[in-house]
């Protein structure tokens, strides 16, 4: 049976991330696609969301008209607190990150390489290391137990974002565990990408053709189910 090609939507990518998050984990969601995962957590997962600005145990975005101007997430979106949620200052917020309390950091990226390095703080390799937007990504990437990346599979020009080696300055030299793109779900194992799940209608060969590094098929390669 051959399906119609259906690249995953942003929401579906968020849902895939949510599926890969374990019970009781402490989770940091970056802006963009990662934060969409928060719409798909179940109560049974008992997830605690933390944001870099010191909000521990935040919930969904604040409904319109109910925003508290003093309560925002790391994307400066008005958010809410779950019962039991709390606030710490910035240094304590990163103390919990640096000490390894965060089970997974979900981030956007421009490139991920087969060695698990990734780049997300500069779009140009201009030699100006003093210029860029690092935010909390380097602390999170160096210290969280796992790194999940959500990004487009290729650039606007059709160049692969899953690559042999990052062409942009890296955010971390290793550590990516999982990559979700609109074409599928990939793990990084032993210096290569493994296709675990594919978007509806896409074959392994089609996905490998737009991937810039060796790709192997997982023994239980399956269709994404979200």
């Amino acid at each position: 049976m051959s399906d119609e090609k259906q690249p995953l939507t942003r929401d579906q990518m968020g849902a895939v991330l949510a599926q890969r998050i374990g019970k009781g984990w402490i989770v940091n969601l970056g802006i963009g696609i990662p934060v969409l995962a928060s719409n798909f957590f179940t109560d049974e997962q008992e997830i605690t969301l933390t944001s870099e600005n010191g909000v521990i145990g935040y919930g969904g975005l604040a409904p319109e008209g109910m925003e508290d101007p003093d309560l925002v997430n790391a994307g400066v979106q008005f958010t809410t607190l779950h019962p039991g949620g709390t606030i710490v200052h910035h240094a304590d917020s990163f103390a919990l990150i640096r000490s390894g309390r965060v089970d997974v950091t979900c981030l956007g990226a421009y490139e991920v390489a087969k060695d698990g390095s990734f780049a997300n703080w500069k779009t140009v390799n201009d030699g100006m290391g003093n210029m860029g937007g690092i935010g909390g990504a380097m602390d999170l990437a160096a210290c969280a137990q796992r790194i999940y990346i959500a990004m487009e599979h290729t650039t606007r020009d059709g160049q692969p974002r899953l690559v042999e080696q990052c062409s942009l300055p890296v955010t971390a030299p290793s550590g990516v565990d999982l990559v979700v793109t609109e074409l599928g779900v990939f793990t990084v194992q032993d210096g290569r990408f493994v296709l675990e799940e594919h978007a509806p209608g896409y074959t392994f060969e089609e996905i490998a053709a737009v991937t810039g590094a060796p790709l192997v098929a997982s023994p239980d390669l399956r269709r994404v189910s979200v």
Binding site: I31, I33, S51, E52, V76, L81, M128, M138
Partner: protein, 259 residues
Amino acid sequence: MGKPTIYASMNEAVADFKDDSMLMIPGFGPGSPHNLMTALYYQGATGLTTVSNGVGFPSADPRMRGLGDLVMEGRVKKVIAAFTASTRPSRAGTAEELIRSGALQAEVTPQGTLAERIRAGGAGIPAFFTPAGVGTLVAEGKEHRDFDGRTYLMETALFADYAFVRAHRADTAGNLIFRLSARNFNPIMAMAARTTIVEVEEPIVAAGELDPDHIHLPGIYVQRLVQIPPDGIFSVNRQAMVGLQQARAASPPGGDLPR
């Protein structure tokens, strides 16, 4: 107990601010000392070194000025921040152009390292080791050391001449309480400066009225207090913040996916 000086206006609180000073500016959306920054803009200070999360953009509103305005007018010598430039060239602002031209020095610092450098400054610790940034451009030129088989790099503390702080409540002893995520960098920056000037949202109460167990920052770190006047800046324009949030959400790292 020694008490901070309570000033009648923002302008008076920053009147003697010296050129070429180093200034800590907290804020992450909420918790920004907009009133003090506006007063400093009109006070005329120049030659600044600033410590903040981001550099920001010039304000379109003359009643609310900020770091972006000082940068644009060439009154800032150096910025130390987690965001010295947009990650996207298409949204590059004035700060980027000035950095590129060499007119503005910049030190981009991972956000957690930035927070810890400030905390260390306030705690009397000259330097510390962190794994954040190892193997990246920010590690260049820094001392590396291994502890228990893992590589760390040395980062040095930050201590400034001034910190501008935004508090929700204060008493006349300078004890401060912050509200929700407006806390962010405020307490650690207050501790990491020689002169900490606080703008306060609620009416300043007499010492003894705040529950000592609920105080976030003891008044020993506070030198000056000033009440935000009724016509002052209490929260930034909500629509502007929502607009910012939408702009960011529309352009995450990783590109624009079909939505």
